[in-house]
Symmetry: C2
Subunit: 411 residues, 2 copies
């Protein structure tokens, strides 16, 4: 493909108008929207209004007058449109880690007597860590067992309480077959809990179409909600009345402002709320979601695959002998929105050299160079240019300098 070919694809792109809705710094090609989404231009003004006009002028009255108290449910209903859920099945709350703990504990309690939670080695660390915390905390009543991705369906048995997997793998970008694994879980009476962090907002997720039981996801990746944005959770309607979380805070109480001493769970997904909702973070997330919801999710998914295909083709054509090996599935339909290559020794330095030249991807230990393609603000020509910049850096060994080998605290 030539650069002009890439420009032609941009000219025909039905999503091209969304790019101007985002702040994109000069001189930067941003291939890390799968880690932290870019700033939608509307967010700064919205947040300023929430701070000055709502908090500043309404003070405590904002909880009623500006709908703060309803924000978790209202924003949840917006996220529901992206993941094939009903509006009343989703809430925005806490962090992905906390939400995973709530629902994994809830799943274990829905399947008493079953002692295994199944996941895969190399799942996103916080998911495994939260499950390990649950295991320790329950004194081994429930144990986390990890088996490789392609053995999971076969490993589910009558002792499995839940399968807990990340739909799109944070490192490889590989997409699990949500429908098939959920069906395999149900066939043995187990529940399926999906972490949608790397799929929400870039893929047409269909939780109810797949029969999924529970899900969690992240607000700051393809949802563009800002650094550390509130996360979300999904509980299928059929489980809402029975599921119990250990994190029973006042916002999940049936009548929080009655100030009873005894916890009584709220109906529906609201019982999954815990502490006071983080209004500033929620306001940024809601504003960002409104931009995303204007776009067609099918077009987003198709463009993400096309951008990934383009990147793979150009990198493989131009970095042939550099030792970069494709980690992600070659088939765009089997990936999420990012593509990874491994390099045995120098991946970290290569990523730092790229960043120094304005192409921002990221490194994932021990050996992965990861590139995310957020379709709302990335152009085909950006991806073409990024691949060519990587080829230049590799050909000239510009990564081979001490400054690119020093590790920062967040890589």
């Amino acid at each position: 493909m030539t650069r002009d070919d890439a420009l032609a694809l941009d000219a025909a792109d039905p999503l091209s108008g969304f790019r101007e809705r985002f702040v994109l710094p000069d001189g930067v090609l941003y291939l890390d929207g799968n880690s932290l989404g870019a700033l939608p231009k509307a967010v700064a003004a919205r947040l300023d209004a929430v701070v000055r006009a709502e908090w500043g002028e309404s003070l405590i009255r904002g909880w009623n007058d500006h709908g703060w108290i309803e924000a978790p449910a209202r924003i949840g209903a917006k996220i529901a449109r992206l993941i094939g859920a009903e509006p009343h099945e989703v809430a925005a709350a806490d962090s992905t880690s906390i939400n995973l703990f709530k629902l994994a504990a809830g799943a274990a309690a829905l399947r008493p007597g079953r002692t295994t939670i199944l996941s895969e080695p190399g799942n996103f660390p916080t998911d495994l860590y939260m499950l390990q915390g649950l295991e320790r905390f329950l004194d081994g009543r429930v144990q986390v067992k990890t088996v490789p991705a392609d053995e999971i369906a076969a490993a589910i048995d009558e002792d499995t309480a839940a399968v807990v997997l990340t739909h799109v793998h944070y490192k490889s970008g590989r997409r699990h077959d949500m429908a098939a694994i959920t069906a395999a879980a149900h066939a043995k009476g187990a529940l399926a809990l999906w972490d949608l962090s790397h799929s929400t907002g870039v893929l047409k997720v269909d939780l109810n179409g797949c029969g999924a039981d529970l899900a969690v996801g992240c607000g700051y990746k393809y949802l563009n909600g800002g650094p550390g944005a509130p996360a979300f959770l999904f509980v299928a309607e059929r489980h809402q009345a029975a599921i119990q979380t250990p994190l029973t805070g006042w916002m999940g109480h049936a009548e929080p402002f009655v100030f009873d001493d005894l916890y009584r769970p709220a109906p529906g997904v609201r019982r999954q709320l815990c502490g006071t909702p983080p209004i500033l973070g929620l306001a940024a997330l809601e504003c960002a979601l409104e931009v995303l919801l204007e776009a067609d999710l099918g077009a987003i998914e198709a463009k993400a695959a096309a951008l990934g295909d383009l990147f793979i083709a150009e990198v493989e054509a131009r970095c042939g002998d550099a030792g970069l090996a494709l980690v992600s599935p070659r088939d765009g339909r089997a990936r999420g929105g990012h593509v990874s290559f491994a390099h045995p020794d120098d991946g970290y330095a290569m990523v730092q050299a790229l960043i120094a030249e304005g192409v921002i991807g990221d490194f994932r230990a021990p050996d992965v160079l990861r590139f995310g393609f957020s379709p709302l603000y990335l152009r085909y020509v950006d991806v073409w240019d990024s691949a060519h910049k990587l080829a230049e850096i590799v050909a000239a060994r510009r990564w081979d300098q001490p400054e690119f080998k020093r590790r920062a605290s967040v890589t």
Copy 2:
């Protein structure tokens, strides 16, 4: 006291200069800073800079370049100055509810074999609810027992794992004797976990002086961090190496960016972190803290007591036969920053009528009118005016209208 007397007190107030640092709407006397602190003027610009310059321009690089990753510890160190803690003993994270769960679970695990967590009836509901969630979750291995405030010290025994109390009661404003109860807990080998939500920023809390083991607190009351601001937690240095929380997320891992499958706790208070830090909320909280930290905490505590004394005296002098009964301790040294009166039938309507006339207090079911006195932005004359407005409303029965009796979702 005359209104001129109140004005004279303002003229002599060493904190009077702080009022102009806050946004205070025209026509409002804000007596609810104990529920949601007013907006510090500096926050809007700070947040705008974090959004536009940090998130917008630095994107993912913000985690290193703008110190986002260090925000929980850095802000914790600032809060430490308000609560008699060492900088490395405090972190800003999650909600008060979540933090209480972490530390209560951690306390129970530090005292294996002990089966009781002791609290008081009428403690702030989310504290009781989180403890009840812990109890259910542990299948009764630990049970929550509540005894009235003045019987707590005597109720601690060799079966008590921890005493979990709110330092200043959210409804009555009554202050627990932190040193005495902590000592009573230690005498029986139990731990003391304090909720500082209604004391941090308005009292000179001295956790280490009292020998406290653990504490949590709220960011949006006297810390003025904004609606749903991140909360904080304290773990005394002597417990940091041993305490284990069930909420073991990646930010509490010894090396989060190594992406190991196995959780290994970080040293120090950092192991209490869980998910990705909420940067927008933390930025607002940090900016608000910087204003508060310019003030002398002793002067703040003294002024809070004086404002409460003034309010009590004026209300009692002028609403004598209205049926308002003081709920809070009469001695300012036994209170936090708020004062409550009970009214058997009409407290809710009285609060609504006050709000309609610009005096914002709040109602706490079933019968409490609550008034908070945040010393950085409230004047003596505001408190005098508020008491006189209440007296007018009561004398003329202006609260006795249907519009003031309809309950809103948040009261």
